[in-house]
């Protein structure tokens, strides 16, 4: 058997010798049927999955194949873009230059985009809850809840984000200076809704039209675009934004395994536009390597001083510095959690009974920080 494999699994060339036409029953002692030979081979395949490290190799194969497809697609797009640029040349050099500039491929890591797509696909499946923390510059009010490692006291507010299937989400927030009160808003699959701490409900077809009451607005930037910021928190919207407006890459310096020994994939995204102060400057996502479930995410805003007269920056003194999401072990919520009626009832009762516990004290974070 000179041409038989040397792989530890396939080294069992007995698989083939059993079917040798000269000695079809060699080594087994009874005539074998074609089915038996095939069944033995099928069992061999199932057993091969038990090889040490096979699970990791499978993940690596999938990743490699998806990355290759992504690169192929990028190349095809580039091919057509080049052709378009060439056609553009026939109508004028200026047009051709314009097309060529437009069609320069992104400098990002294509496999990171593939990972991002997988993360987005998993995020849409729902059934997860996240603890959300906000850090803002210049927010007045009570003393901050958390002292950071650098001993710098920072204003922090917390929220709980629940992601349901079909893109539904609910965000519970504590109004500033009222840690014992809550507001809620979300999307129930057909419309956006908001419930204030006394149980009043507003609904709208778009988040922008919802006119989230100021006491539950997360950013309180004082601008008409405040609601757009809320969209960042829906996870799906944020992940979609990354594809278009950010340069996405793998964070290769990060550990591949977090503290709990869970293999993780870390994707970082850096905003392309230098002057878009409303969007986070850097986004870092830590996802489970096998399921692509988002374990943690960190939205970081640029701390560059605002240019004088720049109206794209948030007005007032409430600039967002950081949003941090962390998966909690909260069990999946039922369908009613994503409806305004449920929260209207709950918040009405809470406002009568003195309010709920402080946000962030419920579900435990699943993972330590990597």
């Amino acid at each position: 058997m000179t041409d038989l494999p040397t792989n530890p699994i396939s080294d069992g060339d007995d698989r083939y010798s059993q079917n040798d036409s000269a000695q079809p029953t060699q080594g087994v002692g009874a005539p074998l049927t074609a089915d038996q030979v095939a069944d033995g081979m099928a069992v061999h395949g199932l057993l091969a999955l038990r090889q040490p490290g096979e699970s990791d190799r499978i993940k690596a194969r999938v990743q490699r194949a998806i990355s290759t497809i992504r690169e192929m697609n990028d190349s095809r797009r580039l091919f057509w873009r080049k052709r378009l640029a060439w056609v553009g040349g026939s109508v004028g050099i200026a047009a051709a230059i314009g097309l060529a500039v437009l069609y320069v491929p992104a400098g990002s890591d294509s496999s990171a985009y593939a990972a991002l797509e997988s993360i987005r696909g998993t995020a849409r499946q729902g059934g997860r809850s996240y603890a959300v923390r906000f850090e803002m510059d210049g927010l007045g009010g009570p003393p901050p809840a958390v002292q950071h490692r650098d001993n710098e006291m920072k204003p922090i507010r917390a929220a709980e984000l629940a992601v349901g299937n079909g893109g539904r989400w609910t965000l519970l927030v504590s109004p500033p200076n009222m840690p014992r009160a809550r507001g809620a808003f979300g999307w129930d699959g057909s419309s956006y809704w908001a419930v204030d701490p006394v149980g009043s409900v507003r609904t709208s077809a778009t988040l922008k039209e919802l006119r989230v009451p100021p006491f539950i607005s997360v950013l309180e930037s004082g601008t008409a675009d405040a609601e757009e910021d809320l969209e960042l928190l829906t996870l799906d919207s944020m992940l979609s934004k990354l594809d278009k407006q950010y340069k996405v890459s793998f964070d290769r310096d990060s550990d591949r395994v977090d503290r709990n020994g869970r293999p993780v994939t870390v994707v970082t995204a850096e905003r392309r536009g230098k002057r878009d102060f409303r969007s986070p400057h850097t986004v870092r996502i830590v996802a489970d390597s096998s399921t692509f479930e988002v374990l943690r995410a960190n939205w970081q805003w640029s701390q560059t001083p605002l240019p004088a007269g720049d109206h794209s920056a948030p007005a007032g003194n409430h600039r967002m510095k950081r949003i941090f999401l962390e998966l909690t072990d909260t069990p999946p919520h039922g369908d009613e959690w994503f409806t305004p009626e449920f929260h209207a009832r709950a918040l009405t009762e809470m406002s009568r009974s003195g309010g709920p516990p402080r946000l962030g004290s419920g579900g435990n974070a699943k993972q330590g920080r990597d």
Binding site: N19, V37, V62
Partner: protein, 180 residues
């Protein structure tokens, strides 16, 4: 959701099955990575030809089989050892596993673990040495003080016993009894 997103999810869902299938059918197991890669890329390139009314797994296996046959072209020994009937039979067994209850291919083939527990201790040890500890059969034979040939026969019988057990558990189809 874009076609690429859906395709990526399907690939992840079927990756274990495809790997097991390639291990089952491939002549040269050092090519598992390459066959897997070529299969997925071909599937993506021919996605338009995929009949969405039919299951994805058998379609993927068909592509993998073609790649394996293509790479084994000219290797008479391979053709002698795996004929069309056997390929059909292997496909049927994978269909049976895929149609069993469970969230993943591993879940569906969990009955294999029960069957392993029921193996004769010598057979169980042979399977464990090769498939779990990753020894080649020569090293495994040496570790249990058996000759190469004896060990390989033991391993082969273990696989046949496992196949019979899986049939009892309805994870494999029963045999038709056609002589090889």
């Amino acid at each position: 959701m874009r076609a690429e997103d859906i395709f990526n999810i399907l690939v992840r869902q079927h990756a274990e099955m495809l790997t097991a299938y390639i291990h089952s059918v491939a002549f040269d197991h050092s090519n598992v990575d390459d066959v897997f890669q070529e299969t997925i890329i071909t599937a993506w390139n021919r996605l338009d030809a995929f009949d969405r009314a039919r299951p994805f797994g058998p379609w993927l296996r068909g592509i993998a089989r073609n790649h394996i046959l293509s790479s084994a072209r000219g290797k008479r020994r391979y053709r002698a050892h795996i004929d069309a009937l056997q390929q059909i039979r292997i496909d049927e067994q994978f269909d049976q596993v895929e149609n069993s209850p469970g969230d993943s291919f591993s879940d569906r083939s969990a009955a294999l673990l029960d069957c392993l527990e029921k193996l004769h201790p010598d057979s169980h040890a042979a399977v464990d040495l090769v498939y779990v500890r990753g020894l080649d059969s020569t090293a495994a034979a040496r570790s249990v003080g058996a000759s190469d040939e004896t060990f390989r026969k033991r391993l082969y019988r273990a696989r046949l016993t496992l196949a019979e057990c899986l049939k009892m558990k309805s994870l494999f189809k029963p045999s038709d009894g056609v002589p090889a």
